[in-house]
């Protein structure tokens, strides 16, 4: 994850900032916040799809972290610790709202017959080279919450299925299955929102 960085004009590393933050140093807190805010906020935004919620959850994640910073002993990377805390904060919020963390069955029409729809004579148009980050971002925002959770945790944030299973309270098999469905759904969204279908490869 994020490497320790030193801000311009001030000799402070992440490890030093952590020790200073334990003593209540305001600059140290701010340094740690600036170092990790983008990653945490982006995670919250991807998982909630809502700017205001993401900001509130970002604040809450850092608040919980800073409350416990006195107990941090460096056994794991600070960023890992923070990231896991942020994920838990988001998942707790989703649970409170009653949103499914893992879909039981969010099938779309036609799934029973398979995704690969054969249209005789119609060329299969790949997405390759025709999606950009903004398109993908929008498509992720359109995913149902359960699919979005699994996709963001696995493909965006890099969690393994056993970790996801632990976090959201599902089986590893369910995590794999829902990830696959999430990717299929994303493919459908990207193909539907493609500006031109001009037979590009």
């Amino acid at each position: 994850m994020t490497d320790a960085r030193r801000p311009q004009g001030n000799k402070l590393s992440e490890a030093e900032a952590i020790e200073k933050a334990k003593q209540g140093d305001p600059e140290a807190f701010e340094f740690l916040y600036n170092l990790h805010k983008r990653r945490v906020y982006s995670l919250c935004l991807r998982m909630t799809g809502n700017t205001a919620s993401a900001e509130d959850l970002t604040q809450e994640a850092f608040l919980q972290l800073f409350r416990k910073i006195g107990t941090f002993r460096g056994e794991s990377a600070f960023s890992t610790w923070l990231h896991r805390m942020a994920v838990n904060v988001v998942l707790m919020q989703l649970r409170k709202k009653g949103l499914p963390l893992v879909p039981i069955d969010e099938t779309t029409e036609g799934d029973e017959e398979g995704v690969v729809r054969k249209e005789p004579g119609a060329p299969d148009e790949r997405l390759t080279g025709s999606i950009d980050r903004l398109q993908l971002q929008r498509a992720v925002d359109e995913l149902p919450p359960g699919y979005r959770t699994i996709f963001v945790l696995h493909d965006v944030e890099g969690y393994e299925h056993n970790e996801i299973a632990d976090l959201v309270g599902c089986s590893i098999g369910n995590s794999k299955s829902q990830l696959h469905k999430a990717r299929i759904k994303l493919r459908d969204l990207l193909r539907a929102n493609r500006p031109e279908r001009a037979g590009k490869r």
Binding site: P7, Q8, G9, N10, K20, Q23, G24, D25, P26, E27, F29, E30, Y33, N34, K37, R38, R39, Y41, S42, L43, L45, R46, A54, E55, T58, Q59, F62, L63, F66, R67, E113, G114, V115, V116, K118, D124, E125, R126, L127, T128, I131, R133, L136, Q137, V140, F151, V152, D155, V156, E157, G158, K176, S177, L179, H180, R183, I184, L186, R187, L190
Partner: protein
């Protein structure tokens, strides 16, 4: 193997569990090979969404206020840096002291009401020795309205508020100079933001309490 069978086995295929039969189907089926390529593209491009945007400054502002309320941010035992940053390290206590003075004054009048600011045991008004002596300059034009707002308070409160406002303005001037001298220094920039926000908090506190009084 048909397309439906291949698709059902895709999750395992993508995890690395592949059979010759699946590979043979892929080689022969354009639709399935296209599907696989698309899913692979989506998966690999997903990491580009990892770090996209910064939150708005209000997140840090709210966080900092809460950290101070809980006493997690406190005066450091030693000051590792000298000069400008050292001088204004405790500047935060200025508006907090003003806030406590204002809230305390309101509580005397309205003992049943709970102020917005909840002073904690770890945050105490800045002792007199920590407040640098400030010669009383003229009221800045932009501050005349707010001083009129607090003019009806007890004289001691007004004087304390005036002193804290002057200190906040001095903080802003020093921070502006630091940014002029080091325009690319992120800490100077952040300190200027903090300076403005402290003044903003002074204004907000005065206005909030004035509204509380007006409602009586």
């Amino acid at each position: 193997m048909n397309c439906l069978q291949f698709e059902n086995a895709l999750p395992e295929y993508l995890e690395g569990s592949r059979t010759a039969e699946q590979q043979a189907h892929l080689n022969a089926c354009t639709s399935c090979s296209t599907l696989l390529a698309d899913l692979d593209l989506i998966s690999t491009q997903a990491a580009s969404l990892r770090e996209l945007e910064d939150p708005s400054p209000r997140v840090w502002n709210a966080l900092e206020i809460q950290l101070r309320r809980e006493g997690l941010i406190r005066r450091p035992e030693t000051q590792a840096t000298g000069g400008f940053f050292s001088r204004w390290r405790t500047a935060w206590l200025v508006p907090v002291a003003a806030a406590l003075a204002i809230v305390a004054g309101v509580k005397l009048y309205q003992p049943a009401r709970v102020g917005d600011i909840q002073p904690t045991a770890k945050v105490s008004p800045a002792p007199a020795k920590a407040r640098p002596a400030v010669a009383t300059p003229a009221i800045a034009p932009e501050d005349k309205d707010i001083m009129s707002t607090v003019a009806s308070r007890p004289p001691a409160q007004v004087a304390a508020y005036r002193n804290d406002l002057d200190q906040a303005n001095a903080f802003i001037r020093d921070a502006q100079e630091a940014v002029r001298n080091n325009p690319n220094d992120i800490y100077s920039q952040q300190l200027l933001i903090n300076a403005y926000e402290q003044k903003q908090m002074l204004y907000r506190l005065a206005l909030d309490e004035t509204e509380n009084n007006d409602e009586q």
